[in-house]
């Protein structure tokens, strides 16, 4: 048993666990809003679109997270603009915009000489996190988490019932942009841990797991966070022992939790709905 907990004696692993827990909690809380609003694809699009921002910030000598944040917002705003001014469906517009930005990022990247590793941006490298990045992740993550939780009633209303939100004179446009901003920031914070491609999983799966367990939103937030944190910790431990990709292990544990919930969740699981149907 002590052998299993060996990673705890290692400073790198302790940092990874700390950062992983923060990222998991923050993404899990946001994921509850995203899946209710139907914005799962938005997370995918923004996460790919940050690449040119990262490269440009590197060239300009700015903090990478500022570039990434700008590019993420640019993706969201230009998607909205093209959708409003053309007859193309929203999901197609999003696909065109985020791949265009990602491709531009790749071309830029191949033209700059840098010591950045493209693999680390794409699939994350939580074990290579530096001490200053740990603090940055904890700080920014705390801000995103705090703002989201403080405004959860208003955000929930614009996700669940935009019409009602407008009737109640909530600034719905502002809140939509705020949610987009929080999403972009969360993606930037998570990149180091899980990378561009798998951050979508952190932003969709925990909320979906919780959605299978409960109808009450506050409970959903708790379940999502618990599912995400436990799979992150388990994933980091497993990856240490089998020497496999950390991001992949986290996402796979989460996917297994989803499958288990899909089958056995008390109210909406397949086993349960079957027995109800049989009666």
């Amino acid at each position: 048993m002590t052998e299993f907990f060996e990673p705890l004696y290692n400073a790198t692993m302790r940092d990874a666990l700390l950062v992983g827990t923060m990222v998991a909690t923050m993404c899990a809380v946001l994921s509850c809003f995203l899946i209710l609003k139907g914005w799962s694809l938005m997370g995918d699009a923004i996460s790919h679109a940050v690449l040119p921002g990262i490269v440009l910030a590197y060239i300009a000598g700015l903090p990478l997270s500022i570039g990434a944040f700008g590019a993420g917002l640019f993706c969201a705003v230009s998607t909205g603009f093209i959708k409003q001014n053309s007859r193309i469906k929203e999901d197609t517009v999003m696909g065109v915009v985020f791949t265009g930005l990602f491709a531009f990022g790749l071309v830029l990247f191949s033209r700059t000489t840098s010591d950045m590793h493209l693999d680390h941006i794409l699939v994350g490298n939580i074990l290579g996190i530096t001490h200053s990045q740990v603090w940055q992740t904890l700080g920014l993550g705390g801000v995103v988490l705090g703002v989201t939780l403080a405004l959860r009633r208003d955000l929930l209303l614009i996700c669940f019932d935009p019409g009602q939100a407008r009737v109640m004179a909530l600034p719905d446009r502002l809140l939509n942009y705020l949610l987009l901003g929080l999403l972009s920031l969360a993606i930037v914070v998570s990149l180091q841990a899980v990378g561009i491609i798998l951050v979508v999983a952190m932003l969709v799966t925990p909320g979906s797991i919780a959605h299978l367990w409960t109808d009450r939103f506050d409970r959903m937030l708790g379940i999502a966070a618990a599912a995400a944190v436990s799979s992150t910790v388990a994933g980091i431990f497993i990856s240490y022992h089998i020497d496999g990709s950390t991001g992949a292990c986290i996402v796979l544990v989460q996917a297994l939790l989803f499958v288990a919930s899909l089958l056995f969740a008390p109210k909406y699981g397949i086993v349960r709905t079957r027995t109800v149907a049989a009666k």
């Binding site: 899946i35 791949t99 265009g100 191949s110 699939v123 909320g207 397949i270």
Partner: protein, 290 residues
């Protein structure tokens, strides 16, 4: 002047460049053709999901020494089946389902690659490697393209009807389920071919951007098919050629070009571009309403 021409012609002196250029054009044309159907049906997210979901299949195929197309195709269909199952049996929305399934498949592929790093190169799968494509891989690309183009060539009217209006297709005696599965299989197959050219991250662009561009340029589906295939071929040709000058980021070049063509169409398209609609709005204002 001759120096300029000389430097512009250098890529053609290399065998691997010529091969990369014509293979890219073939893939671009096939994906472009299919992209009209994909954008019409609203399956953009599906294209993205399948291109990531094939990764474990590619990894297993390389580890076992099987043709990569086989593994990828099986993984793609399995992922599509998983999505359909979860969507039918749970309260989770379709877009969330797609997100969960494709990331889980991709993570599985990533784990396999990290466990067998010597057999598969992650970068090749993520970003493509058309400049270093091997002969057996070219044969697989040719086979996939031939089958896709044949099926689309013979069945495009049925598939078009299905994409426009599935229930109408049923009343006319077509079998929508069969057409659905056909289109899904073609999507998985072309995603596999495009993986070679531009990599998993950018496959979705090859599968939707040409179609979306053509949709801005015409209202007739027959014409849209020609336009989207043409855009696919041309952008892949030029992109692969241009990538000689940018350190081999072939996928990035091709897709950047496609996006630029899309932006041009978005602004200047004769009927559906923003300039045209602005002009229309202005002339409507100029005519006093009775």
């Amino acid at each position: 002047m001759t120096e300029l021409i000389h430097s512009l012609l250098t890529p053609f002196q290399y065998d691997y460049m010529l091969r990369a250029i014509w293979v890219s054009a073939l893939i671009g044309g096939t994906c472009g053709f299919l992209s009209s159907f994909v954008t019409l049906k609203g399956w953009s997210l599906m294209g993205d999901a399948l291109s990531h979901a094939v990764v474990p299949g590619v990894a297993v195929a390389y580890i076992l020494g099987l043709p990569f197309a086989l593994g990828a195709f099986v993984a793609g269909l399995l992922a599509a089946g998983t999505m359909a199952f979860i969507k039918a049996r749970s309260r989770i929305r379709e877009d969330a389902t797609i997100g969960i399934v494709f990331t889980a498949y991709f993570a599985l592929g990533l784990l396999l690659i990290s466990l067998f790093p010597a057999r598969v190169d992650l970068k090749v799968i993520l970003l493509g490697n058309i400049l270093g494509i091997s002969d057996p891989d070219i044969e697989q690309v040719i086979a996939i393209s031939a089958v896709t183009l044949l099926v689309l060539g013979f069945k495009w009217k049925d598939l078009m009807l299905f994409c426009f209006d599935a229930s109408q297709a049923r009343t006319l005696g077509l079998r929508p389920v069969l057409l659905h599965v056909t289109l899904l299989a073609l999507l998985a197959a072309t995603a596999v071919a495009a993986l070679q050219a531009v990599g998993a991250c950018l496959v979705v662009a090859m599968l939707i951007t040409p179609g979306a561009t053509a949709y801005l340029l015409t209202d007739r589906f027959g014409k849209m098919l020609w336009l989207s295939s043409g855009i696919g071929v041309a952008s892949s040709l030029v992109g692969a050629y241009a990538s000689y000058y940018v350190n081999g980021a072939t996928g990035g070049c091709i897709v950047t070009l496609q996006t630029l063509v899309f932006i041009a169409a978005f602004i200047f398209a004769p009927k559906h571009g923003i300039l045209a609609s602005k002009r229309r709005a202005r002339s409507a204002e100029a005519v006093p309403s009775p």
